[in-house]
């Protein structure tokens, strides 16, 4: 439906892989990378929310989504997966490297924390250190992907401080939504007061995500030429239908309306979480699809021909 096909890359102004000067789509970060980002932010968000509530099923599920799902899709995307360990080598300059260290800390100390909760194997003095390191790792994982995208100026649409914020907001929104669904499935939250608090947080996060989406579009519309092309792709062109209906409509407006006007039960909670999940996944995918590189040189602009 929104594949970057030959028809789409050969549209006026877009050069694709041809020998014409013009806008080019970034093509190297695609579905597996988007899925890895989705898993990372969902898992880390669920872990953070669950840790704050001592909600063991959420903690374990968060660790699994990130540790297994994210790792699998990153390795699928990677050209030379056998050398993936080398990504640990440059945390001084690369957000990918910092993120991998975050995953190591998050999954490592998160697993130790789970073992401590289940079998009391962590010495008493070290419990809070393990807790803090696991949360810190999860915070890195839930934001670094946004930093990795915004770090580079190549793709104007991505080069904004809103990228890490959107990563964190979506991650925490997925976390709160999944915690509510799990608690309605029968996994009890230790303190019942948390339930209503998480419900309110979910509504606040949906509104925050909507503001963030609007800000992203606003910045792109009024940004450089490459960012304006991304805006047109997302709002008027072949990516508009999945973005406006999927990300904005199903992913944020419908869940908000359900939460505001329909009493919460297992079915509504499941529908809301499904909608948010679909919207978030499409967001991740479409942000990659809409990544546009500026023309390398425009003789009309540079040489005033």
């Amino acid at each position: 439906m929104f594949k970057v096909s030959l028809k789409n890359v050969l549209r006026p102004g877009f050069a694709g892989g041809t020998f014409k000067s013009g806008y080019r789509f970034q093509k190297y970060w695609d579905t597996p990378m988007a899925t890895a980002f989705f898993c990372g932010e969902t898992g880390a968000g669920l872990f953070i929310v669950s840790m704050l509530m001592d909600f063991l099923p959420g903690i374990i599920l968060g660790l699994l989504i990130t540790g297994v799902g994210k790792t699998f899709f990153h390795l699928t995307h990677m050209g030379v997966p056998s050398k993936a360990w080398r990504a640990l080598l440059r945390p001084d300059r690369s957000w990918i490297s910092r993120g991998l260290w975050g995953i190591v800390f998050f999954v490592g100390f998160g697993s130790i924390h789970v073992l401590g909760m289940l079998f009391n194997v962590v010495p008493a003095g070290l419990e809070s250190a393990v807790y803090i390191l696991a949360i810190a790792g999860a915070m890195v994982v839930v934001t670094y992907q946004g930093f990795a995208m915004s770090h580079s100026t190549a793709i104007s649409f991505w080069s904004t401080g809103l990228m890490p914020i959107s990563s964190m907001l979506y991650g925490l929104l997925m976390g709160t939504s999944l915690v509510l669904v799990l608690s309605l499935l029968g996994f009890s939250i230790s303190n019942p007061e948390y339930f209503s608090m998480v419900g309110l947080a979910q509504i606040a996060l949906i509104i925050a995500v909507q503001i963030c989406l609007l800000s992203l579009l606003h910045g792109a519309k009024n940004g450089s030429k490459g960012a304006q092309q991304s805006y047109i792709l997302l709002v008027k062109d072949f990516l508009a239908r999945p973005f406006l209906f999927g990300v904005v409509g199903i992913g944020s407006i419908i869940p908000l309306l359900i939460l505001l006007f329909i009493p919460t039960n297992f079915i509504t909670s499941l529908i809301v979480t499904g909608c948010i999940m679909l919207g978030f996944y499409l967001f991740r995918l479409l942000i990659f699809k809409a990544g546009v590189l500026d023309p390398i040189l425009s003789p009309a602009d540079i040489f005033k021909r």
Binding site: F19, S21, H77, M78, L89, A148, M149, A300, R305
Partner: protein, 204 residues
């Protein structure tokens, strides 16, 4: 200290793409992989229309974004300013490709190596010898023909250009041809707003 750079004279470029072919031959590039391209761009409105040819190549940026984002240390800059990629260290994550504003990074896919230039799965002796330098899945790019430069030669694209539209030399030497061209004819860098400080200049 030497700091290599290149100047493209757009007035001289005739769009023959001899540079593209010479580069592919020199570097044994598989099908679909280009280190340099000569793009064409039309400007104006009928009947006042003109076509400009824009040679493109890795800009070997002073502040190379591809080097900054590389998590494995595969991308590095030589003392003479040539930005290099070590295929043995590259993990193929693609961060360099999305960080490069000039779209100058290419991933070597397995099929590009195994299918061969004729697409029948049989590699010619030239391909067998040349493809051994590539690691499947890793990213690669122009290195200003560093072996030739080390031997005192110009890069293959410069040596083959029939109109002298490409000039290679030391940007730190004020008397070099590249420095004079940039100074005298107001050399412009591509996408200067990206703050990458390219070492490739265009003159008109």
């Amino acid at each position: 200290m030497t700091r290599y750079g290149m100047v493209f004279d757009i007035k001289r470029c005739i769009g023959c793409n001899a540079c593209t072919v010479a580069c592919k031959q020199e570097n044994s590039l598989p099908d679909g992989v280009f280190f340099t391209r000569t793009l064409s761009a039309e400007s104006g409105e009928y009947p006042n229309v003109s076509r400009t040819y824009l040679p493109t190549i890795c800009n070997h940026c002073e502040d190379a974004p591809c080097e900054k984002v590389c998590p494995s240390g595969a991308t590095w800059t030589r003392d003479d300013g040539i930005v290099m990629v070590d295929g043995d260290k590259c993990i193929g994550c693609g961060s360099c490709a999305v960080a490069c504003p000039y779209d100058m990074r290419t991933q070597i896919e397995e099929t590009q190596i195994t299918n061969g230039l004729f697409g029948d799965g049989k590699l010619t002796p030239f391909e067998e010898q040349g493809y051994s330098r590539f690691e499947c899945g890793s990213f690669t790019k122009c290195d200003f023909c560093s072996e030739r430069v080390d031997g005192g030669l110009d890069p293959a694209c410069v040596a083959t250009c029939p109109t002298d539209a490409r000039v290679f030399g030391d940007l730190d030497d004020p008397d070099s041809k590249v420095s004079r061209l940039i100074r005298d004819r107001m050399g412009r860098q591509p996408l200067p707003e990206k703050n990458t400080r390219p070492k490739v200049y265009y003159i008109d």
